[in-house]
Symmetry: C2
Subunit: 287 residues, 2 copies
C-alpha cells in the first residue's frame, strides 16, 4: 500500500513510518518542520515531500500524526486537497477538536478512521497494539482498515464523548496529581529526604519525574480536552474535602478513606494491587 | 539478651520478635490486645506476659512497637515502671508526640533510642535495615545499641523537627495525592476506563489501591504528625495554582510545569526516572 504520513518527524509519526516500512508498505512523509526531514527520510527509507499536496498525491492512505494543536488545521487543509477513495487515519489523542472535520471528510466519500493509539513510541512492532476507535460513519469498514494494517490489535470502540471524558480521567487527572505533588515538595532537599523515604514516596516521585519526559504533551492533552477542567476542579474539591476531614477528627477522615476504598474495590485487580505495588517498588532497585 | 516487645501482636512487633528470636535472643511479649497472644507466643516461641509490668520484669531491653495512638501513653506508663540500666527502643514513625517522654526516660539513667524503621514488615531478616535515628541524649551510645542488634543497618541521624517534617512530605503528601486522585474517579466505571488507559494511569491506580492495604495507618500518620496539615494545605494551594494557570492559557501552564521540572531536576536520579518508570510499568504485566 502507498501511505502518506503527515507529521512524520514526530515520535508517533516515526513509529508508524518504521512499522509500515517493516511491513513492506511504500511511505511518503511530510512534516511542517521541514528541517531534518531529508536526513530522516534517508535513515528510515521513505520519500520526503516538501508540501502536504505533494505528500498525499497518488497515495491509498493518509495517516495524520501531527501535534494536537496542529491536527484540526491539518485536517481542514485535507478537506480541500484530498481525492475520493482515499483512507484517512487520524491518530490524535483527543478527538473533540477534530471530529467535525473528520465527519466532513467522511461525507466526501472517504474512509475516515478516528484512531487513538493507547501506546507510546517505545512499543515493539510485534507487540499487540491497543487502540481506541471512535466510529465516524461505518465502524465495520473502519475496523477492517485497522485489522488490515495492524493484524495484532486490541481495539475498543467508544463514543466521542466517552473517549474524551475518559482521557480527562486517564491523562489530565494523574498528570495534575503528580504535578501538584511535585510542586509541593520541590522547595525541600529531595536528595536528603530520600534517605528517609519509604516505598510509596519512592514510586510516586519516579512517576512525577517520568511525566517530565514530555511536558508539552501534558499541556496539550489538558488544554485541548473540553472535559479536563471539569475533572481537575472535581479533583481539587475532593482534596479540599479530605483536608477538611483531616482537620475535623479521626472518625471523619476514616469515613472518607473507607468510602474511597469501597469505590476502588470495584476494580477487578484491586486485590492484587498491594502485591503489584511491591513488584514495582522492587523493580526500582534493579539497574 | 532478654528483650521485651510491647505491642508484639502488631505487624512490626511480630517482625522484631521473629528477627530477635532468629538471632538467639530471649523474648517476652505483651500486647493490650490479649486475645490471640498465647496462640502467637506458641507459634513464634516467646514468653507471653499478661501485663506490661510482668513483660518488662528482668529484661535488658524493651522495644515499644505499639500503634501511634498508644505510644505516648505506653511510654508514660514505662516512666513509672522501668528500672535503671535498661535500654528502651521506641519504633514509632512519628516522634513529636513521644519525644518529651523519651527525654524523661533518658533522664532516669536509661539508654533510650528513638528509632524509626524505614521498612515494612515484609523485609527479609538478612536485608540491610534502613533506620532514622533521632538522638535523645547520647547518639554514640544509641548508635552502638543499633549496631549491636542490627549489624546490617543503614542509619540516618536526623533532628526531631526535620524527621517529622520530612514524614509529612514523605508519607502524608503522597497518601493524600493518591486519596484525592482516587476520590475524583471512583464514580466512574474503572474497569471500562482501564481498557483505554495508558501507562501513567495504570501505575497511579496501582499505587492508590495499594495504600488501602492499611487505611488506619494513613489516618494515624497524618493526624499524629504536627506538620501534616501545613504540608497538605501547601499541596492544595499548589494544585489551585496549577488549575488556575490551566484556565488562563498555554504559556501560563507551560511556565508552571517548567518550574516544577527544574525543581525535580535537583534529584540525582532524575535522569533515570523515565527508564525506571517504564520498568515499573512492565512489572505490572508479570504474574
Amino acid at each position: 500500500m502507498k501511505i502518506a504520513i503527515i507529521g512524520i518527524s514526530g515520535q508517533m509519526g516515526k513509529w508508524f513510518a518504521s512499522y509500515f516500512i517493516q511491513n513492506n508498505h511504500e511511505i511518503k512523509g511530510y512534516d511542517i518542520n521541514l528541517k531534518g526531514l531529508s536526513e530522516l527520510s534517508e535513515n528510515l527509507n521513505f520519500e520526503a515531500s516538501d508540501s502536504l499536496q505533494k505528500a498525499i498525491d497518488n497515495v491509498d492512505l493518509i495517516l495524520v500524526a501531527v501535534s494536537l494543536e496542529e491536527s484540526s488545521s491539518t485536517l481542514l487543509k485535507l478537506v480541500k486537497l484530498v481525492k475520493a477513495g482515499v483512507t484517512i487515519i487520524d491518530v490524535s489523542s483527543i478527538k473533540s477538536s477534530v471530529f467535525i472535520t473528520l465527519k466532513q471528510l467522511s461525507e466526501k466519500n472517504l474512509n475516515v478512521v478516528a484512531l487513538h493509539p493507547l501506546f507510546g513510541p517505545g512499543l515493539p512492532f510485534n507487540s499487540v497494539k491497543k487502540f481506541a476507535l471512535i466510529p465516524v460513519s461505518d465502524s465495520v469498514q473502519e475496523l477492517k482498515t485497522i485489522n488490515l494494517l495492524f493484524p495484532e490489535n486490541e481495539t475498543t470502540l467508544v463514543s466521542l464523548e466517552d473517549h474524551d471524558k475518559s482521557m480527562a480521567y486517564l491523562l489530565s487527572l494523574p498528570y495534575f496529581a503528580n504535578l501538584s505533588f511535585a510542586s509541593a515538595m520541590i522547595d525541600q532537599d529531595i536528595n536528603s529526604m530520600k534517605n528517609l523515604s519509604g516505598t510509596t514516596f519512592a514510586v510516586q516521585l519516579t512517576l512525577a519525574e517520568s511525566i517530565m519526559h514530555n511536558p508539552d504533551l501534558i499541556t496539550s492533552l489538558t488544554l485541548v480536552n473540553p472535559y479536563s477542567i471539569e475533572v481537575l476542579d472535581k479533583f481539587k474539591n475532593k482534596l479540599d474535602l479530605l483536608i477538611k476531614s483531616a482537620k475535623t477528627n479521626k472518625e471523619s477522615l476514616g469515613t472518607e478513606i473507607s468510602l474511597i476504598k469501597d469505590g476502588l474495590a470495584q476494580d477487578l485487580d484491586f486485590d492484587q494491587a498491594y502485591k503489584k505495588f511491591y513488584k514495582m517498588y522492587m523493580s526500582l532497585d534493579q539497574d
